[in-house]
């Protein structure tokens, strides 16, 4: 009887091991000792500042996980590809990671337009994609089962939160608002309008092309609206041109720049012609503290320890570096929650339940059955061209996806 029981137990164990082994064998990128993650970011080219150090931050967090013993005994292996923030390069990188490198999941994308281009392929292949720091609203709304993002912030939240700040903190009743005439601009404006309506604020809107060279016309029209504040929700170059023009034309009301408007505040000060143009200036940020501030100092310390050579260079860590941490944290937490025998389905199910405060970003990472955008909160910094001071409070958008 005992023999029979032993034999049965051995056979059952063997069968179980075979079945789970077979299941593991069917999950690409997964072995008993490793989980392969396909990472992609702009490692070269004009948009390198948006993602090079973000990828480094995610990698250093995975290294920390590995040093602490990995996830259920598995070490994370990162395969990194350069997407140059270009849709063609990004889709090619994704295909290589999925088909050639056979990764378990994807973790990448620092530029929204480029990462949205991979949506169709990712969904068709039922591949988990956890974005790095791209807003990627176009891939998050309507929600799919496979794509999670906006660890920095969604563009909808950028637009809503900046109006929230202008109205609540600066008491603006009429806001001059300049955005881009592309998808980004439309997302920003849609949420801004929701907040403006609820806060009973009037918006005077001018939408411009990202490649605009002469901002005289839109600025003059905004000034003619006699606003209480000027909100700029554009990319870096148009933003600097508008601030410069506002200074040249003697505009003294508060100017509030979205987080998308510059990757370097000191460069912004140079580009607008000096400090005088920033006398009444606020910049939106999505971190939990001032860059390098006490709440997030550990991230910068970790970076210095992980990349001493890079940290010694003048432009490093790049501004967006900490954004890589919450994305990596979310992956680690979901893998942990997926259990010792993870599958992509289990990982995706765990991602949908992810809810934690990274301590790095202004708001928590909250996903649900219907929500794929992680962060919706922002802070604001008063910047005078030299000094930065944190404005108290966290500002969020009232916009909700309605399907």
């Amino acid at each position: 009887m005992t023999m029979t029981r032993r034999l049965f137990s051995t056979v059952a164990f063997g069968l179980a091991a075979t079945v789970s082994g077979a299941a593991l064998a069917q999950e690409p990128g997964l072995t008993r000792t490793s989980i392969k993650i396909g990472m992609f970011a702009p490692l070269s080219g004009a948009n390198m500042a948006y993602g090079f150090d973000v990828a480094n931050a995610a990698k250093m967090y995975f290294d920390k996980i590995n040093k602490d013993g990995g996830i259920h005994g598995r070490k994370i292996e990162v395969v990194l590809e350069d997407d140059r923030c270009n849709a063609n390069d990004l889709v090619a990188a994704v295909k290589k990671l999925v088909e050639q490198d056979q990764v378990f999941l994807l973790n990448g994308g620092s530029c929204s337009a480029a990462v949205v281009a991979a949506k169709e392929y990712v969904v068709r292949n039922k591949m988990p994609l956890v974005m790095l720091n791209a807003s990627g609203d176009g891939a998050l709304y309507p929600p799919t089962d496979y794509i999670f993002g906006a660890f920095s912030i969604s563009q909808y939240a950028v637009g809503g939160a900046i109006v929230d700040f202008a109205a609540k903190n600066l008491g603006a009743k009429k806001i001059a608002y300049i955005n881009h005439d592309d998808a980004y601009g439309a997302w920003n404006l849609e949420a801004s309008k929701v907040d403006a309506e609820q806060l009973k604020v009037e918006l005077a809107v001018e939408s411009v092309a990202p490649a605009i060279n002469d901002v005289t016309a839109p600025f003059l029209k905004l000034r003619a609206a006699n606003p209480d504040a000027l909100v700029i929700v554009t990319y870096a170059r148009p933003a600097a041109l508008i601030i410069k023009k506002a200074h040249e034309m003697g505009f003294t009301k508060p100017i509030i720049l979205s987080v998308t408007g510059t990757a370097s505040l000191s460069q912004l000060a140079d580009n607008v012609g000096g400090k005088d143009a920033l006398k009444n200036f606020y910049i939106q940020d999505v971190l939990a503290d001032l860059p390098g501030g006490p709440k997030i100092k550990w991230v910068y310390d970790m970076y210095k320890a992980a990349y001493p050579d890079l940290a010694a260079k003048p432009d490093h860590p790049q501004t967006y570096m900490p954004y890589g941490i919450p994305s990596a944290m979310a992956i680690a937490k979901a893998l942990e929650a997926a259990g010792p025998e993870p599958t992509r389905e289990k990982f995706l199910a765990a991602m949908k339940k992810t809810n934690f405060d990274s301590g790095v970003m202004a708001g928590p990472v909250v996903f649900s059955e219907t929500e794929r955008a992680a962060n919706k909160a922002t802070i604001f910094i008063k910047y005078d061209g030299t000094n930065k001071s944190l404005v108290p409070g966290v500002y969020t958008s009232r916009w909700k996806y309605k399907g």
Binding site: A46, A211, N213, D214, A217, P218, L220, A240, E248, D270
Partner: protein, 300 residues
Amino acid sequence: MDWSLFWLFAQQGLASGIVVGSVYALLALAIVMIFKTSEVPNFAQGEVFMAAGYLALFLFVFQGQPVWLTVAVTLVVSFLAAALFRRGVLRQVALASGSPVNLVIATLGLSYILKGLVRRTGFGDTPRSFPALVGTDSIMIGQASVTRLDLAILAAAVAVMAFVFWLFAYTKVGRAMRAVGMNPKAAQLMGVNLEKIHMLVWGLSGVVSAIAALLISPKILMTADMGSIVTMAFAAAIVGGFSSLPGAVVGGFIIGIVENFVGLFISSRAIAVAPFAAIMLVLIIRPQGLFGGKFAIKKV
């Protein structure tokens, strides 16, 4: 819109349009110069402009060279680079096939090379400001607000245009350039060294582009994509009549002013399409452009 606002917009639009239009005019001049003598539209003109701007930025900001040396080196390098491209690449392409399409593709190749080179330097990663060599404090002209830099841009652009016209109209080398443009074989028979003239025209076009870059860079901020401004210059050249130097200048001012007026009186969203609307309008009403002269069948 009330009358006072209309009047303010009109004055400001005109002033800003003339300033930015003067830079479009310079670039259009550079394009037309080459087209007149070789019938090749130089699609790398914007990148020559951009690369010259970055060279000046590197010398002045990152190397701390004095202004005079920065300007001199930028102009000389731009001249040599453009002239040598003509001699080393376009001549070989022309000898190999003679097809204008291949020459155009060679200019496209140059545009990619220059953009790639600037990106490789790392300076093109973020928008950068070339320090204004003239003050940026405002001056009121009527109700229009312009900066001293704006006035300096306009004055310098007009001076360069005047020099180019003088060169083409009153000097021996200018007459040779025009002769090459009208009938290269006849010009050669008259003793004009065709290749030398082509190199000179390309070099001069490079210098004019570099001057445009030095003038406008403090205003528009520098990125590796700043060469896209050449689209406006092509629009100016087409409006003016592609083979006419005065046409290029007038076209530049028209495009600058139209851009501003469309932005002020119609919509900011329409600024980007305004130059193309102007092209369509001109091509419908006067297909040869404003200064293009009558259509003629070219003798072969």
